[in-house]
Symmetry: C2
Subunit: 356 residues, 2 copies
């Protein structure tokens, strides 16, 4: 069913993350949104593709680190897209600053902005777009709408949203934002049924966001505004010193938790933050033995393994439930279910490389 | 105790092997003798060092594949040795042809040749040299002396030598050569006590070897002789077509098993053929957790692992008793105790690389 709406939505793609949870393939120079972790396309490429619906979306704007502009352009070009508008952050200042950049560089104060991460995977893009269309009326009416993912397990790595009364259409009021819970609390929320995962996406008019900032975090919006010389440029380059003066705070803390007119739309489009190698494995195509293997590598007589390489081929036999990750610089081998310890391995690697 | 003998021994280093048992670090282009598998030196470098005793040995001759001449020279130079005399085989024709090359290119028919592999590890080089000195009288007297290693386990991967009566000094007559046995036979031989491992080393005068060839395998020595244009050259290059006509047969089969005047000297100098990754692990320096790790790589919270790389660093955590082997082309991960399956992995790798 084609989506028909009166006003196009401007996607704002946040491409600032540079976590180490997917090291060694993800590095500060090439964070995970630039990697083909789940399918053949990079996560950013998947995001571009998901937003390529001219009946719903106008051309996206990408907010990324200054060092990543070229990678963003290359991925857009590889999809046959024209070069996107880019806001190049001179340094990382968390999501409040990024959302403020989005709001202040909008082409029109009434523009509907759909702000979303570049490094998440969405299994059912059609349903994602349908959910955006459903949330449109609430965003047009001046709410800041978040997307609440139907939880599938008692995850302690995500924030949760408690849903309140119906607001507009399927959008509900937000009763409360809950930070990453402990296991007991997470289980209780799953059992309760009113709690959804916070997917880190925001949908609102530019003017709604600016006003919410002015009300709850005027220092953030003032610092970001002061850093922008030409908010209409095709490549916006905030001044480094001025932008660095912006408080580094998450948009949830800076605005959402304090704001009245927040909404949440229950969503079930197969979202994953691809936040660990275990999550990557689960979302990947697997062979009959449950191995997630790229062409060029091979598992002989083993099951449940994840093999990923940007460098050498990988061959393995007789092992189960391992992650084997390779680049031209380093190979990491570990139990797939210990993905939370990858940071420890990264730290050791940094020690080793600083020795030489 | 310094060794004093009347005639110097000429070491002949056989550097023709190119097995796949130590793949992926060992490849046809860079067989295992060129790799630092056990210590910091390559096995060939270790061999050169072991033979650098001017009271016992004259300068060595190396018999290697034509494609490996430069690697041999580089390793000799890295030890501060002058470039060795080299016989460059245009193709591999097994050990009988190599021993015939050694005998026919000797500088004097009476020269004492100590023919030994380049890709073995010897734990106690002093004892090795003392054993050579002990065997000298038998070699001078016209015997072909082999070195019989005191067995430490019922190994099925080696040939065995049954010792006979005393011949000269500690050298005994060979009662019989036994091919690789099954497990039951191997255990029986260990229990018996008269059986030693065949280390593939031979010690004899050049003229003794030539005469033994004429008697038992005249076709081999005739073909090799016909292939050599200048037996006194510093770099001997047998004619390719003529050398290729030599029957490819092991020296044990061609001569030793048929010859009367063969001897064996019981040896206990810590010999290993480094014939598998398990053997490499056992001979390597290990940390407190039993991990054999090179500087630059690391095991966090794991034990009994072997890490070897000629390319990327290796970091691993939470795994035990694995071999993790890396080059710039390929990474192999497998249980350390399944080293005999490495060939299978190599075959799969060849399939994968021929696809692309």
């Amino acid at each position: 069913m084609p989506i028909a709406i009166s006003t196009l939505v401007r996607p704002i793609i946040l491409s600032g993350g540079s976590g180490t949870r997917l090291w060694p393939l993800s590095t500060p120079a090439r964070p995970k949104q630039f990697l083909p972790l789940v399918g053949e396309r990079s996560l950013l490429g998947e995001t571009f593709a998901r937003l390529s619906d001219p009946a719903l979306f106008s051309a996206p704007t990408v907010i990324c680190g200054a060092g990543h502009v070229e990678q963003v352009q290359v991925i857009a070009a590889s999809l046959g897209l024209s070069s996107p508008r880019i806001v190049a952050e001179p340094c990382a200042r968390n999501t409040a600053a990024a959302v403020a950049l989005a709001a202040l560089t909008a082409t029109d104060p009434d523009e509907l902005l759909l702000i979303l991460p570049s490094d998440h995977h969405i299994e059912r893009p059609d349903l994602f777009r349908a959910t955006v269309a459903e949330a449109l009326a609430a965003a047009e009416a001046g709410m800041i709408v978040t997307f609440g993912m139907k939880p599938t397990r008692a995850e302690t790595g995500f924030g949760y949203i408690e849903t309140g009364a119906v607001a507009i259409g399927t959008v509900r009021h937000v009763a409360r934002f809950i930070e990453k819970p402990d296991a007991e609390r997470a289980t209780a929320m799953i059992d309760d049924g009113r709690f959804l995962w916070n997917g880190g996406m925001f949908f609102a008019r530019a003017s709604t966001l600016v006003e919410a900032f002015e009300q709850h975090s005027p220092d953030v919006i003032a610092a970001v505004r002061a850093s922008i010389d030409d908010p209409a440029a095709l490549l916006v380059t905030p001044g480094a010193d001025r932008f660095a003066a912006t408080p580094a705070i998450a948009f949830d803390h800076a605005v959402m938790e304090k704001h009245d007119r927040t909404g949440v739309i229950p969503s079930d489009f197969g979202w994953s933050d691809v936040g660990s190698w275990t999550a990557t494995y689960e979302r990947s195509v697997q062979d009959g033995g449950g191995n997630a293997v790229e062409p060029g590598s091979a598992v002989i007589d083993g099951s449940g393994n994840l093999l990923r390489s940007s460098g050498p081929r990988i061959i393995t036999f007789g092992v189960d439930r391992l992650m084997i990750l390779a680049t031209n610089e380093v190979v990491l081998v570990a139990p797939l279910d210990d993905a939370q310890r990858v940071r420890e391995a990264y730290e050791r690697y940094r020690e080793l490389t600083s020795d030489t």
